[in-house]
Every structure is written in C-alpha cells, then in structure tokens.
Symmetry: C2
Subunit: 559 residues, 2 copies
C-alpha cells in the first residue's frame, strides 16, 4: 500500500488556505500512486492554534472546513485515496474540555471516523491539556480497516510513551499497545513536532525503536514551517518493521513523500545533515521567512552595530527574504569605534543590502539637556552610568521603530540568549523589535553559526567582526567582559541553569566557581522582567525563553 505524507506548511488559523495546501499535496500524492494520504497533526488549523481554540466559532469553522474538504477531494478524485486529516473535533459528551485533538478519516466524500489523541503534551511550549480532552486508548480503538489492512492512527505524542524506550514515562497508557491489541498491521502518526537541537536524532531513534519493537511499519507525517517561536522541521518518514528508515521527506521544506508502507520498494530518502550550526541556519532562515510572510511583511530592517549578533541576523534576513528587502541602519555615537562602522558597511556590501547612517550624538545631547535638571534634583551627585547607556540604546530603538513605522518593514532585534539571560540588554532599546531571531542562541553558538555562514555563503561576515572583543560600545573602551564572565564560562553555566534546570549548588558541584555561579543566577533572576517584554524569537534549545518559559516576577530568587 503506497502512502502519501503531505508535509505542508500551514498558516495558523487559515482554514481555507490550509485546506488548499492539503488539496494540492493530496493531488500530487494521488498522481504518484498513493492509496492513502496523511497530513500533519491539526493540519487544518495549523499547529499550534493556541487560544484560537477557545473560540467555538473558530472550531465550528474548522470542522465544517474538514467536511467540505472531504467532499471536494471525492469530487476531484472519485474513489481516490482516503485522507487522514488533523483537525480539532468538538467534544459532544457534555463533560470535560470542549475539544479532542483528532485525526479525521475522510473517505468517499465524508468524514467516516475520528481517532482522538490520547496523550496530550502539557509541558514546555505545549498546552494541550488546556484545550483537549484525552481520547481513550482502548484496545483497537485507534485501528481502522482499510483496503484489507488494519491501520492504527496515532497523533504525535501518542507514539512517545513506549515503556521500554523511556526511562521515565509521562503517561500510564500507551496507544501503541492499544493498536497492537487491536491487530494493527501498521502505525500511522500525524505529527507537529517542533525543531530543537538534537531532536531529530532522538525522534528518528525513538520511531525506529517503536517500529522495531512492534515489528510494524510506521508512517510519520510532520508539519513543516515556522509558526511564531516554533520551527517545524518536517522530515516525515516511513520506517520499516525492522525500524530502518525506508523513506524520508525533506527537512525544513514542504514536501510530499509517497512510499510503500508494506512492500519492499525502496523509497526516496532525503539527505539529512545534523551538524548543529547547519541545522540552526536552516531553522532560522525558515523561521524568519515564515514569521515575516505569515505576518504580512515583505521587508525587514535592523541596526548594524559592527558586532557578531547583528551580522548574523543580517545574514539570516538576507537569506530569508532577499538582500533587496533588508535595510541595515548604522547609528554611531561618540563611543562607536571606526571599526564598527567600517565593519558594518563591509558586511552590508558583502550581503548586498542597503544601509542608512544616523549619528545619535545630537539626540544624546538633547536627552542630557532634558534630564540634567531632574537628575540633579532627584539623584544629586550621581555621575553618568547605566542610565546614560540605556538612553543611547533607547534613542536607537526609537529611530529604528520610526523607520519601521514609516516604511512598513519589520524591525529585527539582534540580542542573543546569553544577553537576554543575564539582562545585558536595554528594554525598549536594543530589545525593540518584532522578532528576535537569535534570542535562543548563546553567544558561543552565535560565533559558531557565523563561521558556518561564512563557510557556506562565502566570507560574508568580515573577519574583523569574528575576532574583535564583543562590546556594546555604550561608553568609551567598554567590552562585554567588563560586566560578564568570559562567554564560554557564562554559556556553560547558562546551559545548566536554563536548559537542565539546575540550581546554583548543582552547577557548583559540576565544577564552576561558586561566586560566578551565584552572580550569574542572580542576574538571570533579575532580568526576568525584561524577558517578559521581549519579542518572540526562534526556539533552538531544548528549553527556551518564550512561551515555554513561565517564571514568576515578584518572587524570591531560586536557592
């Protein structure tokens, strides 16, 4: 039985547009001989629809859209392949959450059957228990008979609870066991599994293990594309009953993969590199391109400081939407080095993007004049310090936002995760912008990515940007390391504290200096208010700031 995996890139909430994507992909699969077609999870609404699901008017429209799509497919392809379509299903039981996260078995022009997701991820960026009632994983309840075969339909997390694979299971039931008990001959999985670093290796290994353990072929259809902070990396696949990868769709791109589910015909196997910087590059480019497109922007702008962060952001933006659509803005102050300006101009020239230069010294003087009397009255004897540095940064934020407002280009903010973690950034200043695309990359990862970019795109980032000491250039001779531990130390501590959920004592036990650890953890805590007002970025790490980071503000520091 040939199965078509419709790896589409939906827009959240755009049921008509997403149905059209499914139709087009279905037609391609049918033309390639597919007898059955599978979409990603919640394909009709796009994943994650989040609180749109709290609007019953929205959910009714999704259901009606599914029924209409089923009818249209039959009209265009009479007797064609069944479609297993991800769509929220209203819960008519009168108890519990209003919806199920369902797979709709569409055949002969109608929705014939629904299978409901049993395991609802409610951790990190996932909030499924907020919206959905779990389906019951009863023996055979997820098995559909189709053209002489017994096919088990599962949805994403349903496959992620094998008791032999996971040392710690999150759920007491396993829908795969229910499928096996029901005599399933193959496992189908509708998925919306977002990218994070090292996820694909885990995912492929886990899917292989489940297929091999059950001795069943497994077809896995993942969503692709950027939706806010999440980038879905596709890589839909068919595994053989021995666990081997029999066919794999493209990573980070739309695709339709048609492969034989039971037979021995070799499928198409897209190459799939797992080098961290290469993966990050693909994720950032796709995530940025989709965020702009799905928000209705065609142009972007950013401030170029001469540093590594803005250089990398510029390179991503140019790759995502083309150099002609990206503007770099130089806003030198008296503390800017000549190198910063030259390096920025060289970068822009290498990338082929336009620049504008607007010195900010007159505005700095204007703010000094406006504030000096108040400062003298309210804080007598205090000299210039962080306040004045922040003023510079906020002048630049105002200029950039003015250009954004005037031209309709989205302002990209350029801060990295190390800065955002410890608050080495100015709220309403350099944090201004609609999308913070490298805000989940630690500084050391930014450097590695820059080297990768230069390797694959030619030396677009000038060597000088790669080798100079990082500096905010907000006072004469300043460097980041005046205020922060060396980045390799800082980043290693942050990885343990932010991504492994370790408290200070555990990090010290791992071999770091107690005073440095205490200082870093304190900085992280007291920058929480900045992160609360930060622009969304692209999730790269296992655990990231953003929608999956829910820390209290008016709280005591962690121990």
């Amino acid at each position: 039985m040939r199965i078509g995996l419709l790896q589409i890139n939906p827009v959240v909430g755009d049921m008509a547009g997403n149905a059209a994507l499914v139709e087009a992909a279905y037609a391609r699969a049918a033309a390639a001989g597919a007898e059955l077609a599978l979409t990603p999870e919640l394909a009709l609404t796009g994943y994650p629809p989040r609180d749109l699901l709290l609007y019953q008017g929205f959910c009714r429209l999704a259901w009606a859209g599914a029924e209409a799509l089923a009818a249209r497919l039959e009209a265009a392809h009479p007797g064609g392949p069944a479609l297993v379509l991800g769509c929220p299903e209203p819960n008519a039981s009168g108890q519990g959450k209003q919806l199920y996260n369902a797979a709709l078995w569409c055949e002969g022009g109608a929705v014939r059957r629904t299978i409901r997701k049993a395991l609802l991820p409610t951790y990190d960026v996932f909030d499924e228990a907020r919206y959905f009632e779990p389906g019951q994983a009863q023996d055979g309840g997820n098995v559909v008979e189709y053209r002489g075969r017994r096919l088990a339909v599962t949805i994403c997390e349903d496959l992620w609870n094998d008791k032999d694979y996971w040392p710690h299971r999150l759920y007491p039931v396993d829908p795969v066991e229910a499928a096996v008990a029901g005599g399933a001959e193959a496992l189908l999985n509708l998925s919306a599994s977002p990218f994070s670093l090292r996820k694909q290796a885990l995912r492929q290994d886990m899917l292989s293990a489940v297929a091999a353990r059950r001795g069943l072929p497994l077809a896995y259809c993942n969503q692709v594309g950027g939706n806010d902070e999440l980038v879905f990396d596709g890589r839909s696949a068919v595994h053989g009953p021995d666990g081997s990868v029999a066919a794999r769709a493209a990573g980070f791109a739309e695709d339709v993969l048609v492969a034989d589910l039971f037979g021995s015909v070799p499928g198409r196997l897209e190459q799939d590199g797992l080098d961290p910087s290469a993966e990050i590059w693909r994720a950032l480019v796709l995530g940025t391109r989709d965020y702009l497109r799905k928000c209705g922007f065609t142009k972007a702008l950013l401030g170029l400081s001469g540093g590594i962060d803005s250089a990398v952001v510029a390179a991503v933006a140019v790759e995502a939407i083309g150099a002609q659509n990206v503007l770099g803005v130089l806003m030198p102050s008296p503390w800017s080095s000549a190198g910063s300006i030259d390096d920025s101009l060289a970068l822009a020239q290498n990338l082929g993007m336009a620049t504008r230069t607007m010195p900010i010294e007159p505005l700095m003087q204007g703010f000094d004049a406006a504030l000096s009397e108040s400062f003298a009255a309210l804080a007598p004897g205090q000299g210039p310090g962080t306040t004045e540095e922040n003023i510079q940064s906020r002048i630049r934020g105002n200029l950039l936002m003015a250009l954004s407002n005037k031209t309709g280009a989205l302002l990209l903010t350029t801060g990295n995760k190390s800065e955002l973690a410890v608050g080495y950034c100015t709220i309403y200043g350099d944090m201004s912008g609609g999308f913070a695309l490298i805000s989940d990359l630690r500084k050391t990862q930014v450097y590695a990515l820059a080297r990768h970019i230069n390797a694959v795109k030619g030396q677009v980032i000038p060597e000088n940007i790669l080798v100079k000491a990082p500096s905010a250039e907000l006072r004469p001779g300043q460097t980041d390391q005046d205020s922060l531990p060396p980045y390799d130390v800082l980043d290693a501590i942050l990885a343990l504290h932010l991504e492994k959920n370790q408290v200070a004592a555990e990090i010290v036990a791992a071999g770091f200096d107690a005073e440095v650890v205490a200082r870093v953890c304190r900085l992280v805590k007291f920058a929480e208010f900045k992160r609360r007002q930060a622009a969304p970025g692209i999730k790269i790490a296992w655990r990231s700031f953003g929608s999956g980071w829910r820390m209290p503000l008016a709280a005591a520091p962690l121990p």
Copy 2:
C-alpha cells in the same frame, strides 16, 4: 473543634519567609484556642510558583522546609494543633509529572500524611497539569481521622466539580464524593483562588451549595495578596452544614480566622462589599503594593498626561505606597493643551505627590532632524502621521525610563484594556514600564473607578479630567474618538470578543453594527504583537490579557 484559617500573604519562592508567616499565624490561631490550623494551597512556595517547580532543587527545599516547620511548631507548641500545610510533594512513583500538589498533615513534629489534589485546573492562568500528577479521588482517600473526627482534606479545584452545581463539569471525578464515601464529617479546603470581578459571589454560592448538599461544615482557607498579575482576595470562610456562612475572614488583607467547625458558636463575620468599583479599588491597591514590595521597590513614577488613566494610576499608587514615594512626570509637547498640564498639577497637588516637568519639543525636533533625510529617501512624499506620533510617545518612554533607572523607582504604565485591545498605544512608548496596573480595565471601568475614588478619597481627581474628551494629544485637536468607536460601544464589543470568546458573527447577532464589529476584531488581532511585549497588569476580568491569554501572532484573523 475550633479551626484556625491562616490567611497569609506569601512571597512566591520564599520558603523561609513563608514558613515564618505560617508560624506566626499558627501561633495566633493556637493562642485563640484553635485545635487545627489550615493554610492556603501551596502556602510554603506561594501560589503560583510556576516554572520554579521545574527545578528539583527548589522542590527539595520546599519539602525540607515543610518538615522543618512541622518540627519547629511542635517544639514551640508541644501537643498543639495539627497543621494542614500546602506544599508540593515529590512524585516518587517513577511515572508521570514530578510533583503532586499536596496538603501535608503535620502533627507531633512531623509530616504524618499527604493528601494530593485530584483536580488540576489547566485553563486561563492555571497550568497545573504542566507540573502535577493528579491525586486519586478514591473513596475515603482524602479523609483523616483527627481527635475523634473524620475530616476530608481537599485542595482548591477539588471542590469545584459538583455535578449538580455545574451545568458543564470539567472532570469525571469528584473528590467530595470520595470524602463522603469515606464518612467525612467536615470538608477542609486549602485554596489559592484569585480575584476576578463577580468571583466572590460565585465562590461563596458554590461553597454554600456544596456544604448544604452534603450536610457538612466546610472550612475554606484562601491565600491573600498580589503575585504578579493575580490578586488573591482572601475571604477565607467557614460554612455551616446548612451552607450558611458562619465565619468569614477579611477581604484583601492578611487575617487569622478562628471558628468552631462543628459547634454553634457564632464566628467573626467580616463585612464584605461586592460593589465592582470598590472591589477593583481594593484589588489594584493590594496588587500594586505587593508587586512593588515583592520586587524590592519602594518608589514609583508615572507620566501624567492630564487624562483619566494616569489620574487613576496615580491615585492607586499613592494609596498603595504613600504620596511621598510617587513621582508624577509631565512631558508636554506643542500638542498638549494647557488644561492637561493644569489638570495634572491639580491632581498631583490633591494627592500630595511631587511632579517634574520636561517639555519634549526640543527632542521632537532632534528626531525630525535625525530622520528627515531617511524618511525622504525611504518613503518619499509621505507626510507626518502615526510614525511621528509614536516618536513623541517613545521620547516620553525614554525620559521616564531614564528617571526610573536613575532613581530606582518603578515606572508604572497607564494604559487601559480598551487601548491595549485595539492597539491604541505605542509599543516602547506609553507602553513602557514595569507594571500596567489598569491594563485589565476597560475605559468605561476606568471612569467608574475614578468616580469611586473621588467618592471615598475626596475629590482627588479633578472634575475636568472626568469630563473632557479622551485624547492622546499626539497631534493638534486629536481625540480618541477620531480613531475609535465611542467607548461604550467599543467596550461592549470587547467584552463579548475578549471575555465571552465570541467571534464577529456572534457579536453582530447580539445587535452591534457589522462594520464596527469587523473593524474592532481586526484591530484586536493586529495589536497582538504589542500585547506580547506588554508589561504585566492586574487581572480583574474573567478572562484577561497576560499569562492566561495565549494567542498566536503569525496567524490568520479569527472568522
């Protein structure tokens, strides 16, 4: 049996401080003859601890703190009342989430028993399924024998699922039924139930109904105080077996209520008004005071525009932390009316707070000069418009943040919910600030609150501020109603769309003009990016922006 309800105001994450609050309240209760003491839900960590719970080092500390507290109480009060203490309990089963949301029965110097919350709210601002494994609501499993009585321990939501009370139940089980099956003679409830408008009437009615239906007395101990966006209103109570309120603690203040659980001794019954503006006033004052205190601020500042919003915010701030700790900043532009300045000065004088005045015209000219060439090049022929209005607002934001940075006073932002809903506000401009205390009040609610303030505090808000047409004063002669529908219409549409989850067609069916509804819903959708970067506010409505509002950004508009 006399029971002490320890209505404390914990700081999230401050286990040592919260244990000290419990100890002090316990001592008061014991001195008043209590034989049993009850804390709020998760009293030792404060509620909601949010992602602090993902740190095992934090949870271990909480558990150790509970054991130490039990021992200290016994040492100080040998043979004293048992304490039922809210605290997270590690899940040692090796499966599922790492924690239970538990009540610890502390007696004789140790934790004798734990009872686990069975119903885990996962909606709106609540994320309990993210952290906790549910307890099992087995017959009698939540019943503790103590001094000859069978007492059922429940935690917050556990009481909120009576099948006769609720037309739509969220959970299939009811811990109260398990308690009754176990022969319970009274229901105890540890709660952290946040304030929202009309919640207290529902809560008291529901608790009465549960007590009366089961014919059991009910003791309910609620948390009090502001924790980030949530204000907990206290109002702990004892209900008799007929449902009547036998005793009630203070609203919006710490309290220890000691009352007879089974006897007929009348308890203390604090007066409790439910006038909406009066409740809002108490919630805002407590929420603002606690946010500042728990973040370590003693001073606040805000921009005074001469409008109703900043007037109300100033009045709340003065009530919360004292006039001597609040600074008002006037930043007139050429478009500011003389009335705005006079009204602001009169307001400040009435409230007894200091002001500073900083005209912004020179800075507006500075930005014009910095930007004119770029505007001419990038947007030829475009005249002044929203961009220039935003620049003014961002100049003010920069000045206010500079004063905040220099003086260590928290900047209060003054926007209301109507503005924030439709995006009638400038990101990084008037949205700048650490706390947006009226951001969950629609404009019409702000007016009603202003009249309430004048009624209870004397005419502190000048009449002129109450009667003039609302205006952002960002261009000559501007009023809000140039851009927006009349506020009574706008607010009514927003209430349906934001708080009743109605889509446009439903709102039109309720009698509103289709074109106006479509425009308002579109504005709400396209202001989502501003709300993503907004300061936290105080939750007042049933459904609010903030942590319980989780909308996608790069998404299609709702139907």
